[in-house]
C-alpha cells in the first residue's frame, strides 16, 4: 500500500490526472484508511510541490494544475473520510471574488498555492454575493476568509463583506485576507482586514501567520 501511495504522489508530480484519480479510487475502494490517502498521498504531494516551487523547480501553472488534480482526488476521498469520521485537512480557508467582479484568476492562484501549504480551501467562485460569503463563514467556520477583487470599482465590496460579517456577529471568529491589483497594505488596514498579500506566494505566508503556525496542522 505504501507503494501505491507513493505512486499517487508521483502522479501528482507528473500532473497525470487520470493516474492520480485512478489510484485514489483504487486505494479508497481497496479499503485503505481515507485519512492516509489524504495525508500521506495528496496533502504530502501538494506540500512537496510547494517546496519545489520555492526552489524554483516548478512554475505556478504547474501548481495550479496540481491543485486541480488534488481537488478531483479529494472529491473521492472526502465522502469516505466523513463516513469514517476522520479529520479533514487542517485550517479551512473560504475564498471568493467579491460581488460585481468576474476576475478570478488571482484568487485561483492563491487557492492553489494555499493547498501547497496544507490549507483546506473552499472556493466560492466569482461575483459572489455578500450574503453567500457570510453564510459560508457561519457554516464552515473557516480560520480565514480571502476576498479578491481586481477592479477599483469592486474593491469597496471588500469593506461591505467585512461589515456584513461584523453585523452577523462572525467577525471575531475569522481572520480576513484581502488581495487584488488595486489592494494595498493601507487599504487593508483602512477596511479592518487582518492581512494583505501582493501575490499568491506571499498570500500563503500571510495565511500561515494568521493561522498561527508555520504550517497548519494537517
Amino acid at each position: 500500500m505504501d507503494e501505491k501511495i507513493a505512486a499517487l504522489r508521483e502522479a501528482l508530480y507528473a500532473l497525470d490526472d487520470q493516474a492520480a484519480v485512478g489510484i485514489t479510487r483504487e486505494l479508497i475502494d481497496g479499503g485503505l484508511e481515507p485519512q492516509r490517502v489524504l495525508q500521506e498521498g495528496l496533502a504530502e504531494a501538494m506540500l512537496e510541490i510547494g517546496r519545489r516551487w520555492n526552489a524554483g523547480d516548478v512554475f505556478l501553472p504547474e501548481v495550479v494544475a496540481a491543485a486541480e488534480i488534488f481537488k478531483r482526488c479529494n472529491e473521492i476521498v472526502e465522502p469516505a473520510l466523513i463516513e469514517a469520521g476522520g479529520h479533514t485537512l487542517g485550517h479551512r480557508v473560504v475564498m471568493a471574488t467579491v460581488k460585481g467582479d468576474l476576475h478570478d484568476l488571482g484568487k485561483n492562484m492563491v487557492g492553489a498555492m494555499m493547498k501547497t501549504a496544507g490549507f483546506q480551501v473552499h472556493d466560492l467562485g466569482k461575483d459572489v454575493p455578500t450574503e453567500r460569503i457570510v453564510e459560508a463563514v457561519r457554516e464552515m467556520e473557516p480560520t480565514i476568509v480571502g476576498l479578491s477583487s481586481l477592479l477599483t470599482t469592486t474593491v469597496p465590496e471588500q469593506r461591505v463583506v467585512i461589515q456584513a460579517l461584523e453585523e452577523a456577529g462572525l467577525r471575531g471568529r475569522v481572520k480576513i485576507m484581502v488581495g487584488g491589483a488595486p489592494v494595498t497594505e493601507d487599504w487593508a488596514a483602512e477596511i479592518g482586514a487582518d492581512g494583505f498579500a501582493p501575490n499568491a506566494p506571499e498570500a500563503v505566508k500571510v495565511a500561515l501567520r494568521l493561522a498561527g503556525s508555520e504550517r497548519p496542522e494537517a
Partner: protein, 487 residues
C-alpha cells in the same frame, strides 16, 4: 521539469538582418574609400614595411612614409583574405567558426580600472583582477571570445601583454583574442605561449586557440609595430584582425557617411597591406567608430544613433568584401549599471546583431570602455539572452496556434493549468536579473537593483567556478617564456 546543462558558449544564430544602406549607397562608400586610398593613402610608420609594400605593388613615398594603393591592388589584395576560418578553444566545445551563420560576443578590453566587487569603488586593475574577470567570463556562456578586460598594471610593462596572456590561458579554455600585444616581440611571445598550450607549431596552426587584432590610428595611420606584430601572427597562422576606432568630428569627418568612408579606407588599407605581405592570412574587419561630444571634445561615451548606424553600415560593407566582421556593441558612458547603460547596451546589442556582425565587441566595461565591472558582463548576458529569444522568432505550427486549446478553455476560462500550457510554457523567456518582484518584496529585500543581483551572482561564480586547468608543467613553461622575453 529539470533544466539541461548550460552549453559552454552560446553564439547567436544570424537569421534576422537590417540593412539601411541601399546597394548603390554601399558602392558609393566603397568607391569613396578606394579613392581615399588612391589619392591620400596611408601613413605607415616603418621604413622597412613601406619598402616592402612598394615592392608588393603599392605606390610609396619612402621619405614621407606614405603608401598609396591603386583600387585594383586593394581589390586584388582583400580578395585573398579568407571569408571563413576557425577560432579554436582550448576546450573544443568552445570552438568557433566564423562563417556568417552566427554572431559571437567578446569580453571587453582593455580597461585600466575596474569597479571592485567588494568595495564597489573604482580602482586601478591588477593581474589578479584580470584572472578573476577571465575566470568569471569562462563561466558565462554568452561570452564566447575572451579579450583582456583589464590591464595587468602590476606586471612589468615590457612584458605586460605576456602576463596578461598567462593570466588568461590559465583561467579560461575559451578562445582568447589577444589585443594588448601590439609590438612584434610581445606578439612572438604570445605565439610561443599559444604553441606550448596547443601542443606545437602545426597544432596551433591547425587549431588557433588565440587570435589577435591591431588598431589603425585615425586618420589613416598604421604604426610600424602593430603591422609587424600582425605579420608575426600571420606567419604563425594566428588570425589577426584590424580595428578602426575613429572619433567622428575629431579624427574622422563629422558626417556619418564620411566617418564610415574613413573607417572603411583604414580597414581596407591595413588589410590590403597585410595581404600583400602575407597573402591569405586570416583577418577580420573591426569597427569601433564613435562620435565626439560637441561640448566637451571628449568621446561621446557610448551608443547614440550614429554608432548604431556605423555598425549597420559597416556590417553591410564587411559582407560586400566577404571578410568576417567584428562590430562594436555595449558601449556606454554610464558610471554604473543604470538606465543609460541598459538603454545603450540593449540598443547597441540588438543593432549590431541585426548588422550581422560575426563578432560583437564587447561586454564588461562602462565609462566609455575605461572601467570594467563584473556585474556588467552578467547583465549584458541577459540582453544577449533576450536577443536569442527574439531571434527564435514565432513558430506558427498547429500546436503554436493553439486553436483547439482556445476552444477547450472557452470564454471566461483560463489557460493556466491546461496541458498545452504545461507542455509549452518552458519555452517562455525568464529573466535572471530584471526585476519582477512586487513592491513589497522589493522593499523587504532592501530595494535591490538588477545590479545587486548581478553582483551577488558574480561573487558566487568567482567562489564556485574552476576553469579547466592546464595539464602538467605547461604553466611553468609559460612562465619561462615570459622570463626569456623580459630578460
Amino acid at each position: 521539469m529539470g533544466a539541461e546543462p548550460a552549453p559552454r558558449i552560446r553564439p547567436v544564430p544570424l537569421r534576422m538582418r537590417l540593412e539601411p544602406l541601399s546597394e548603390n549607397a554601399v558602392e558609393r562608400i566603397h568607391r569613396a574609400a578606394l579613392e581615399v586610398l588612391r589619392r591620400t593613402g596611408m601613413h605607415v610608420r616603418s621604413e622597412r614595411l613601406v619598402r616592402a609594400l612598394g615592392e608588393a605593388g603599392a605606390d610609396v613615398d619612402a621619405d614621407q612614409l606614405r603608401v598609396r594603393f591603386a583600387p585594383e591592388l586593394v581589390e586584388e589584395a582583400i580578395a585573398r583574405a579568407p571569408s571563413s576560418y576557425l577560432l579554436a578553444g582550448r576546450d573544443p566545445a568552445c570552438d568557433i567558426t566564423l562563417d556568417g551563420t552566427h554572431s559571437y560576443l567578446t569580453l571587453d578590453g582593455c580597461a585600466s580600472e575596474l569597479v571592485d566587487l567588494t568595495t564597489g569603488e573604482r580602482r586601478p586593475s591588477t593581474k589578479a583582477d584580470l584572472e578573476a574577470a577571465t575566470r568569471m567570463a569562462d563561466a558565462v556562456p554568452e561570452v564566447t571570445i575572451i579579450w583582456q578586460p583589464v590591464a595587468a598594471r602590476d606586471a612589468p610593462t615590457r612584458v605586460q601583454p605576456l602576463h596578461e596572456t598567462h593570466a588568461q590561458l590559465t583561467n579560461t579554455s575559451k578562445h582568447i583574442q589577444q589585443m594588448t600585444a601590439i609590438d612584434p616581440d610581445n606578439a612572438r611571445g604570445v605565439v610561443e605561449m599559444a604553441r606550448i598550450v596547443a601542443g606545437g607549431e602545426p597544432e596551433l596552426r591547425e587549431r588557433p586557440i588565440v587570435s589577435a587584432f591591431q588598431c589603425t590610428l585615425s586618420p589613416l595611420t598604421i604604426d610600424g609595430d602593430p603591422l609587424e606584430a600582425a605579420l608575426v601572427y600571420a606567419e604563425a597562422g594566428i588570425p589577426c584582425g584590424w580595428v578602426s576606432m575613429p572619433l567622428s568630428t575629431a579624427t574622422a569627418p563629422t558626417t556619418p557617411a564620411g566617418s564610415v568612408v574613413l573607417t572603411n579606407a583604414e580597414l581596407l588599407g591595413a588589410i590590403a597591406a597585410v595581404q600583400l605581405l602575407a597573402p591569405g592570412a586570416p583577418t577580420f574587419y573591426g569597427v569601433c567608430t564613435s562620435t565626439m561630444d560637441l561640448n566637451s571634445g571628449s568621446i561621446a561615451c557610448g551608443w547614440g544613433p550614429e554608432e548604431n548606424l556605423f555598425s549597420l553600415a559597416c556590417g553591410q560593407l564587411a559582407r560586400r568584401y566577404h571578410i568576417p566582421s567584428e562590430l562594436g556593441v555595449f558601449g556606454t558612458g554610464a558610471k554604473t549599471q543604470d538606465w543609460q547603460a541598459g538603454a545603450q547596451h540593449m540598443l547597441s546589442g540588438f543593432t549590431s546583431y541585426l548588422a550581422g556582425g560575426d563578432m560583437l565587441c564587447a561586454t564588461g566595461t562602462i565609462y566609455a570602455g575605461r572601467v570594467f565591472a563584473f556585474e556588467q558582463v552578467l547583465l549584458d548576458s541577459e540582453l544577449v539572452d533576450i536577443i536569442h529569444a527574439l531571434e527564435d522568432g514565432m513558430s506558427v505550427s498547429d500546436e503554436d496556434l493553439a486553436v483547439d486549446v482556445i476552444d477547450d478553455v472557452g470564454p471566461g476560462g483560463h489557460f493556466l493549468a491546461h496541458e498545452h500550457t504545461l507542455r509549452n510554457m518552458r519555452r517562455n523567456w525568464l529573466p535572471r536579473y530584471f526585476d519582477r518582484a512586487t513592491w513589497e518584496e522589493w522593499e523587504a529585500a532592501g530595494r535591490p537593483s538588477p545590479r545587486d543581483r548581478a553582483r551577488e551572482r558574480a561573487r558566487r561564480i568567482l567562489d564556485e567556478h574552476h576553469p579547466d586547468p592546464l595539464p602538467g608543467d605547461v604553466e611553468a613553461e609559460l612562465l619561462r617564456v615570459i622570463a626569456a622575453h623580459e630578460g
